[in-house]
Symmetry: C2
Subunit: 357 residues, 2 copies
């Protein structure tokens, strides 16, 4: 296959980790006889510096003209003082919306080799857990009307959480389909005892659940879910939730693995084109020091091969290479815990994975 | 002092645990020469059963005519099928609003004697942690406009998150004053990179922080906070946040103590009158079995003495009695972990605390 991949390296450690993913993708392409054509575009802080906009039109056009997109990370203290519309994070919301990426898939998996990194006790973690959070990504309070208006106590700032049946159904379907391919258990998370949008969410999910009789469905309030993730994460398989609750719960779920440097994510829309990125941030403190863990971005590349291009064997090859280096005991600094061994650099870890492919 | 206390026993284990708290308060009153006059009112499911309303006007009037209020818990499967307006939880929102209880204080403290109950590893818990979540309780998306309207994808359900400077300032002041009496550290949690209401929240908190130069102030995004609570809870002292984020984060914080049967809460307004309740629910599965842990409700009574009546020594006496029975190794079933000893019943635990006073 010949495929065009847009690279949004971004800021901080973004360029280093995307370069690692590119190297791994190129080696994989070579091995399986594909051709990947990579084109870089500006996003985030570096885009502000060069064009004064966090998401230049050229970047949007480039992404829409590509077969898929890999993103590093955006933002850093340099741009923190900027006002609302020209902040680096604005670019993330903008590209999600422009590409119609209404689904965010965030697997939170505890790697057996990294079990000890979890902040949770061994009794709770057991043999590990492997959950998939399906977060709605282009609706809800992230994209609702906002501004200032007169209220009971004078001027107030407001934001609107809103969901239609169409939006709930399309994200619900993604989650149920994912559950069918996994252990057929799904938990929908809302706050239906308070929010009207959650009541519509719950009603729509219940209707959908009837169409998937093989899937064991339940709902849970978001406050309880925040507790249950810590108390007993193994009770969950697929979690489906709104944009805002998904933001909070997926970060909590990542943290309980203890290895956020390992976790990849996929943002998908109606077409095969997606945006793949590590869940961690731009880590400005270690940027340019060749210390970053490239694995989350490398695994994001593998997710892209699987979800956007259907290249299952190729994706598996990358994932197995990662498992192998971990089993060999190779670790970047973030995965070292309190060990006193010398950690691998970003490029050394990349080399090891390339060798294992 | 002669004080009128309204009792909202509610559903499930509510009556048992409120009775325990009353016994402890009466013993304390006797010891210190006070007189507490208790009057019960209906709330939640039992109120629906008797009056068809979850929050009868008589209950509201009774609470407003009392010096303070103790609440057990509301709700249960019996009333789960009821529609929005007559659900037991509606009563909670109603009484908060009617009493003007804009502050919710939720301490999440790890009792040294119960350290092993935390789901977090010993390295993370260390000598324990003790944080106070200050949650805004009568504003935000809980009380904003909601309903149905036409949107981009047809009819949509919506809810409105809204905050004014007045509301943010008054909850902020409570949090800063609390921080002054504790370790002088405060973390305000918002989603200012997305929400307009959060940007006003953050700006207002920054202005307030200038008036409290002795308090170390910082802000954090809610997704990061959900991670940090699990990664390193000891970094926090006072947390101040909105109604919705407070709902989620305070439950997560409770869970990391591992002993939600121990945690009390206070809801306060502009006057000294407050509403005090355990953070746990009505536990219908063990209702009437004399198995419930009464400690959270007993400690809610102690909080009432301290915050509403300024009876510091009296509150301390109750708290010390609880510490003492825990140090003696006495435990109700929920605190037993995997131990095979016989747990104390609700009344036996109450007796032990009464004896220790
Ligand atoms: C940076 C921010 C706007 C973004 C979000 O809240 O969606 C981030 O937290 C994420 O989850 O990708
Ligand atoms: C029952 C529900 C409406 C309530 C809330 O969300 O405030 C509860 O979760 C709480 O925190 O007291």
């Amino acid at each position: 296959m010949e495929l065009k991949i847009a690279l949004l390296k971004g800021d901080g450690i973004g360029p280093e980790i995307v370069d690692s993913a590119v190297a791994v993708l190129e080696k994989t392409a070579e091995k399986f006889g594909h051709r990947f054509i990579f084109t870089p575009y500006l996003i985030g802080g570096c885009a502000i510096d060069e064009t004064s906009l966090p998401l230049p039109q050229e970047t949007v056009d480039g992404c829409l003209a590509s077969d898929s997109v890999i993103l590093g990370a955006v933002g850093g203290p340099k741009w923190d003082g900027l006002a609302g519309d020209i902040r680096p994070e604005k670019a993330l919301l903008g590209i999600r919306s422009a590409m119609g990426l209404f689904t965010n898939l965030r697997p939170a998996k505890l790697y057996p080799a990294l079990r000890s990194a979890s902040p949770l006790k061994d009794e709770i973690v057991g043999d590990g857990f492997d959950l998939l959070i399906v977060r709605e990504l282009t609706g809800g309070i992230y994209f609702g009307e906002r501004g200032y208006r007169e209220g009971r106590y004078g001027t107030e700032a407001f934001d609107t959480e809103a969901y239609s049946v169409t939006e709930i159904e399309r994200i619900g379907k993604v989650a149920f389909e994912a559950a069918m391919k996994r252990s057929k258990r799904i938990c929908s998370i809302d706050k239906a005892n308070v929010l009207e949008s959650s009541r519509l969410w719950r009603k729509t999910m219940h209707e959908l659940a009837e169409k998937y009789p093989d899937v064991e469905y339940r709902d849970m309030f978001v406050d309880n879910a925040a507790m249950q993730l810590v108390r007993d994460p193994k009770q969950f398989d697929v979690i489906v939730t709104s944009n805002m609750f998904g933001d909070i719960l997926s970060d909590e779920a990542s943290q309980i693995t203890g290895s956020i440097g390992m976790l990849a994510s996929a943002s998908l829309g109606a077409s095969k084109r997606g945006l793949y990125e590590p869940i961690h941030g731009s880590a400005p403190d270690i940027a340019g020091k060749n210390m970053a863990n490239p694995i989350a971005t490398i695994l994001s590349g593998a997710m892209m091969l699987r979800y956007s291009f259907g290249l299952t064997a190729e994706a598996g090859t990358i994932e197995k290479a990662v498992d192998k280096v971990l089993d060999q005991g190779l670790r970047t600094a973030d995965l070292m815990g309190s060990s006193l061994d010398t950690p691998l650099s970003c490029t050394a870890m990349t080399e090891a994975i390339l060798k294992a492919i």
